[in-house]
């Protein structure tokens, strides 16, 4: 076990103010006194909670991407679409750039995010350190701003209201799965603690 050089000093990630780290109580948050950014948190049972939320989110992610999000009935015609169906429709009308943007933000990034989290958390929970922890943590951090599941959900609701004038619209199973997925992803992010992971990696062989 390596001993850190100055265990009690940390720099704020947003304003670089150097300050002494304090010991937090369970559920506490340390904020920078100068710029008010969150420095670190102490989340009770962080690993167990994050793993549980991430596993549930992975199941819902599969459902949300397999079943239709919305269906439409108009004079005997019926259409419905999945998330990937919207990507295909954009691609088919020559909007490949927009199709790629939708694919990356609503399917690819959430999938990478969940896969990276499970890759880290499952072995750690079983008491082993998976190879490539730093790269995986960086991947989780970098993917964060690009996952837009909650924005896509709002887009579905707006489409629902817009179409309600024109035809009878049905909500699909995937729409509800998306709503639950959004909540679970938020819970996963809120209970995830990178510092806690490092602490565990240092203790384990």
């Amino acid at each position: 076990m390596k001993k850190p050089l100055r265990p009690s000093l940390i720099a704020c990630r947003e304003c670089d103010l150097l300050q002494r780290a304090v010991v937090l109580t369970e559920g506490g948050t340390a904020c920078c006194p100068r710029c008010d950014a969150v420095l670190y948190r102490k989340i009770p049972d962080s690993l167990d909670r994050t793993l549980a939320y991430a596993l549930a989110a992975a199941v819902l992610f599969v459902i949300a991407n397999t079943f239709p999000i919305l269906g439409l009935d108009s004079q005997g015609n019926h259409t419905s679409t999945t998330v990937f169906g919207t990507v295909r429709a954009l691609h088919a009308t020559g909007m490949s750039a927009v199709a790629a943007l939708v694919f990356v933000t609503t399917i690819l990034i959430p999938a990478i995010d969940l896969a990276a989290l499970l890759y880290l958390l499952v072995p750690l929970r079983l008491g082993r350190v998976p190879p490539g922890v730093p790269a995986m943590l960086r991947l989780v951090q970098a993917a964060k701003p690009w996952g837009m599941v909650e924005v896509f959900l709002l887009g579905m609701l707006v489409s629902l209201v817009k179409l309600a004038h024109l035809a009878s619209v049905h909500t699909g199973v995937a729409l509800w799965s998306f709503a639950a997925l959004m909540l679970l992803l938020a819970a996963t992010a809120a209970s995830f603690d990178a510092q806690g992971i490092w602490a565990r990696v240092r203790v384990l062989p």
Binding site: C15, I69, N77, T93, M95, A97, P134, R138, V151, S159
Partner: protein
């Protein structure tokens, strides 16, 4: 190099002001076609109709769904404009080593990174409608070229927010515990 995770360390993000400015200028340029070109094209028995972002908002307002019109107006017009101008103010102030209201500017940066993503709503709506409204003879909806430009504006401003280093806001300001450094 970081001893624990092997990341390359920089005192500040490299070339932050130059990169953010370049991304912002590109975003401003693309903001014009994003608003002038149609984002959605509707074809039906009664003829074709093209909608830009603004005409889409006006149409929603006129047809009576004003809460929806307000939502789309906020997400597609207010948010991108606010994000572009906020990042411009931040970049210029950092370039000039301004010392006014650093706490307020730090908060502004945090808000900007948080709300920027919501501009994507219009793109997603266009995608969903294009996939759903495909009644060959009755009506079809497809995304227009404005959607490409608008999507590019959102992506560019997100990259601009990522290359901006908020530590630069605090650099010209006296550090109360400077002696703790090193």
């Amino acid at each position: 190099m970081c001893r624990r995770c092997g990341a390359r360390l920089h005192p500040r993000k490299p070339g932050s002001v130059a990169r953010t400015s370049a991304l912002l200028i590109s975003a401003y340029l693309l903001y014009i076609p994003a608003n002038v070109l149609p984002v959605m094209e509707t074809g039906s028995l009664f003829g074709a109709q093209t909608d830009t972002i603004m005409s889409g908002v006006v149409f929603l307002f006129v047809t009576g769904s004003w809460p929806l019109a307000a939502l789309i107006f906020f997400a597609s017009v207010v948010v991108p404009l606010a994000k572009l101008s906020a990042l411009t103010v931040l970049t210029v102030s950092v370039q000039r080593r301004a010392t006014w209201a650093p706490g307020w500017r730090a908060r502004l940066f945090r808000i900007v990174t948080f709300i920027g993503r919501w501009s994507m709503v219009d793109i997603f709506v266009a995608a969903i409608l294009a996939a759903l409204v495909q009644f060959q003879t009755l009506a079809t909806i497809r995304a227009g070229p404005g959607a490409i430009a608008f999507g590019a504006v959102v992506v560019l401003t997100m990259f601009a927010a990522e290359t901006f280093d908020p530590r630069l806001i605090w650099d010209p300001i006296e550090d109360p515990i400077e002696e703790g450094r090193g």
